[in-house]
Symmetry: D2
Subunit: 366 residues, 4 copies
Amino acid sequence: MYNYKRIILGLVYRDKGELWLVKVSIVGATGYTGAELVRFLARHPEVELVALTSQSYVGESFVDVYPSLGKYTDLLCAEQDIPKLAAESDVIFTALPHGLSMEVVAEAARAGKKVIDLGADFRLDDAGVYEEWYKVRHTNPELLPEAVYGLPEINREKIRRARIIGNPGCYPTSVTLGLAPLLKSGLIKTDTIIIDSKSGVSGAGRTLNLGAHYAECNENIKAYNIGTHRHLPEIEQELGKLAGGRLTVSFTPHLTPMTRGILSTIYASLDRPLSQEEATALYREFYGNEPFVRVLSAEQLPQTKWVAGSNYCDVAVTVDPRTYRVVVTSAIDNLVKGASGQAIQNMNIMCGLPEKTGLDYPGLYP
Amino acid sequence: MYNYKRIILGLVYRDKGELWLVKVSIVGATGYTGAELVRFLARHPEVELVALTSQSYVGESFVDVYPSLGKYTDLLCAEQDIPKLAAESDVIFTALPHGLSMEVVAEAARAGKKVIDLGADFRLDDAGVYEEWYKVRHTNPELLPEAVYGLPEINREKIRRARIIGNPGCYPTSVTLGLAPLLKSGLIKTDTIIIDSKSGVSGAGRTLNLGAHYAECNENIKAYNIGTHRHLPEIEQELGKLAGGRLTVSFTPHLTPMTRGILSTIYASLDRPLSQEEATALYREFYGNEPFVRVLSAEQLPQTKWVAGSNYCDVAVTVDPRTYRVVVTSAIDNLVKGASGQAIQNMNIMCGLPEKTGLDYPGLYP
Amino acid sequence: MYNYKRIILGLVYRDKGELWLVKVSIVGATGYTGAELVRFLARHPEVELVALTSQSYVGESFVDVYPSLGKYTDLLCAEQDIPKLAAESDVIFTALPHGLSMEVVAEAARAGKKVIDLGADFRLDDAGVYEEWYKVRHTNPELLPEAVYGLPEINREKIRRARIIGNPGCYPTSVTLGLAPLLKSGLIKTDTIIIDSKSGVSGAGRTLNLGAHYAECNENIKAYNIGTHRHLPEIEQELGKLAGGRLTVSFTPHLTPMTRGILSTIYASLDRPLSQEEATALYREFYGNEPFVRVLSAEQLPQTKWVAGSNYCDVAVTVDPRTYRVVVTSAIDNLVKGASGQAIQNMNIMCGLPEKTGLDYPGLYP
Amino acid sequence: MYNYKRIILGLVYRDKGELWLVKVSIVGATGYTGAELVRFLARHPEVELVALTSQSYVGESFVDVYPSLGKYTDLLCAEQDIPKLAAESDVIFTALPHGLSMEVVAEAARAGKKVIDLGADFRLDDAGVYEEWYKVRHTNPELLPEAVYGLPEINREKIRRARIIGNPGCYPTSVTLGLAPLLKSGLIKTDTIIIDSKSGVSGAGRTLNLGAHYAECNENIKAYNIGTHRHLPEIEQELGKLAGGRLTVSFTPHLTPMTRGILSTIYASLDRPLSQEEATALYREFYGNEPFVRVLSAEQLPQTKWVAGSNYCDVAVTVDPRTYRVVVTSAIDNLVKGASGQAIQNMNIMCGLPEKTGLDYPGLYP
């Protein structure tokens, strides 16, 4: 079953019984995206977890922090000692707040390791744009040209050869996968794109803040950061590449009373006539072989719960003949395809493993 | 405190001790909008509830159906005997599925009673449009010209003189209040309006269906009826009146995991430059004296929970200088301002009572 | 309508137009129980809110902290200046964490004001018990003898004459009202009482903590502090008084995924035979005239949502003939009958107002 | 990795490429427990799904009914043709309402197939007790003696040899695993057992009913069927076997606002002194080698979310020295360890497969 080539792309696999395993460390493992990495990697048949670092829980058993993972790892939370991690690991995931990954990534990359950064520090091509939106100086702009934006459906070949991955943000993942077929085919007016996204609360992470306090966000929906969310330049960068030119979009994120999931509803005016059948066919063809994209018909629109806990992106395109607009709906689990699952998908590609390895689970429904 | 004139607009008030009370019946009282009417009317200082009809619970105590209202009414659920209701009542509320109100309203109006229909049968001016979207023949189109669309902020004077009120739909209420200031002032391009609405599950009523099953909609968000929802012609009719001409909009409703609330996020391109300050000032002026509209600043966007259980519509307008668009967010409780609260507001106006009577409650937060 | 005597119990009412109003201050108004006090008191026909203090929001508009209360108060958040508050107020509510009320209450009481403390500092008769369970020294034990435990259904007459009220905890309210009829009538074996309570998350207050983080407690139930919760000595003290002797109970609180509500399920062995009819009749008689207790039949067990937002306690008693046990279920809104509503009920009693004034609302259902 | 013996226990495995797979059919696959079976079995490395039957969806693609399972099965919903199923299958799961499995199980067993019934028809040893509690005549009482109660932690050896499994109910699973160590060791007074269980709504299945309507059960907790729930005789039967004699318990189920999960809080008086350390050690020893039971310490009580989507039962025992009682808390996912996961665990045992095969997933947290 696991008969693919094991010595690949310069990674040195070590012997552990009869299996060669990829040694993996996670920097910032006790946040939600870190814990999701552990959830998948602890069962990944080609991976050995060697270190999990934490700021707040050094010395504690990881399972005491996340008892849901009891029986799946014996690791203790370790300090963030990058040289040590680099010495022990083939691949390092960084799951840190923006601004904190830059140096870690640089150090790990200098040590010759593959690094996948789940934060924002290596997503934007232009350090100036990063600094403008994130209000932090980028200390390692020289690495940006080689960092690859880790959206496999678009950049698979670049990811295969990459040393540094800027793992996409959750909103940009749902939006870019939602619009790619239309943008690539030039069917929509790029100045009419309006993106209305609804996110579960886990997208705000595990750090305490009033906006994620149960009593404040249960039974409640609000828009926030209208036209000013930090994922906006990332969205425009990636959509622009697909469209072959700069574009400006409206993007409104919403906080909704669920733990996991993003649904993006995306509106654009058609540039030329398109039937419903043609539209769905376009998507089906574009994503035909993708392991983690499911194109639904317009009769069966995506629901976040259908992808909960899974690495799938479900997408449907609806043509509205009354308004000559298309309405795309795209659903992901923000912590999986929007973060940790996609990061592992990238790792699989970088390590020459079958892309679905360790990620091949359906959504948890109901 | 209650020193306003009691004999008004042709209503005959009866003596009940020292107070003159408006006698009120509710047809279809055991659905959610019916129960909300009871919740407010049972405490309304100028109202006496005389009859509550039901299909499924005839003969049972209303409080056995809604124990939350224990100590607030002794009425039993009655059969739907319109002549009897008309004889006993000054005002009749009909809270029935579409298609079932037409005859009831006609009969009650013929008996000289004021009728407020919470369904869709008297909202659309054109019987043909009604029949096209609701797939039901309108049996009383002759009454449509006199039926008034019961949105007090727009039609207060007509409501005052009305005999039949078509009480607005929940989505149309949130959308019309959200856009009225911009449309009235001609500041937006009317062919660019895109409405993305998020509704709680109670909007689907109490009738059982898989889409409202807890396990199906908890932790789940989906769009539905993209560009085909029955509230669409109602929205376009009312927005068109405000804009002074026909218009076509994109409207996407979403089902979200909360019981009460609608948040509408509305996008439109500006027709001429407008600053954030001007935009907010426009809304503040437009709604300055309104008892049930609160204009928030763009720094404090509406949240559905701030209006939960109340008759308020909270609205904010955000100018996005990057895209030359405005983004309006508008929050209501779908069962109150989106249905029963608004119906009572209409009743107050029709009966010459102070508009806030019996409705003057803040939202339940948290 | 408001024709009861206005100069009562030594309170000096001031003239404000034709009405005499009770002047009220809230110390710690920006927590959830503080905001609930404002929600009710801002509409209380006999009350004028004169000051709202806060630690974190001094100088800000209260409505900016709780926009749900927009149009209901113009007050700014004030510093905690007790002499000033005492000079301006007839009644002072303290809604502070335990340990912080003692001095405030003492100072206000010394100034001759009525004080209702929503915290734990004046609930326990014995300072030693307080200090053992709360790990804080009680600085004003001399006031404990005059402080009245503010459960109106049990202590109404004492409350009427009280200067200091220790407002009951949320769990003890649901438990004491649930068991009072059985204990008073001596029908159960007092050493067999087991209390299993389920609380919404708002009971933990607005202070940030991981246990109240949305993603941690949504879709999740857990027991906590088994046999060690701080409400335990309060429960045993009050149940003991009803039983006429010391008793020891098992008490297990649970955190459940809802914002508001406590359901207590209480088990006890019968001391002598009791039929279902007798049991329900006992409760109906005991609570016959109570404005805020509704005794349900065993066929219609209490649901927390039936009392949401209201001051009601719904209670039912079920006799289980298989085990010779009774099972009592008792539902309250933890922020209303479990805190702020009950505090206002106490205020009404202390001020000679009709007990339901400003509190006469049904639950928000659905 | 899968090097265990493949020809076992009389099952005839068929060749499919290099693997021999167990052919499995599910009768009643479109309910929640049916869909959970598909979720696990579609990825089970030793299983081939051959048929999924349905009442309502015959001829439709199973994935159209459960789009969350898209890419995991191509099967259409089939009619319930038992001879055909029996001919094609090695193992048949029946996931039908009580009363409907009896004949199906009998027919499949007669055809020499292994049958695992997720309903109640083969759980109770005594047909009379079944008929008393379920109000249905048992048509195949002659099969009851050979039917094995499928709780692997207790009955593993019997399951290994069984032809018919009565798969345990969700509540009884959580309760029996919670009490087994104490009952086996005779440490508690068996007439003092009180069980207070809290269940998510999916336990009521996918069939529409008002109690599972979102607006009715969201933000709501209630007890139901106090002392009369149909799982009660099952609980007493299994606890009695562990205790070595008849016993009578109090059992109160509660409906709580979450989709998945059961937390049972179980109280009992100690028969002799027991320290906290001894109690936890007892549980650790009892469940030491169990693949799907995790014994937590009393400092880290079970949470339903830690087991969501997984086959684990998390259990902790707390000794309360004040009352000489133990309080056991036990958490499962009602659809997994409480139904479909346990059924597959039974299948694994019956087929000689490693018990964790296809079930080895941690909970989905957050």
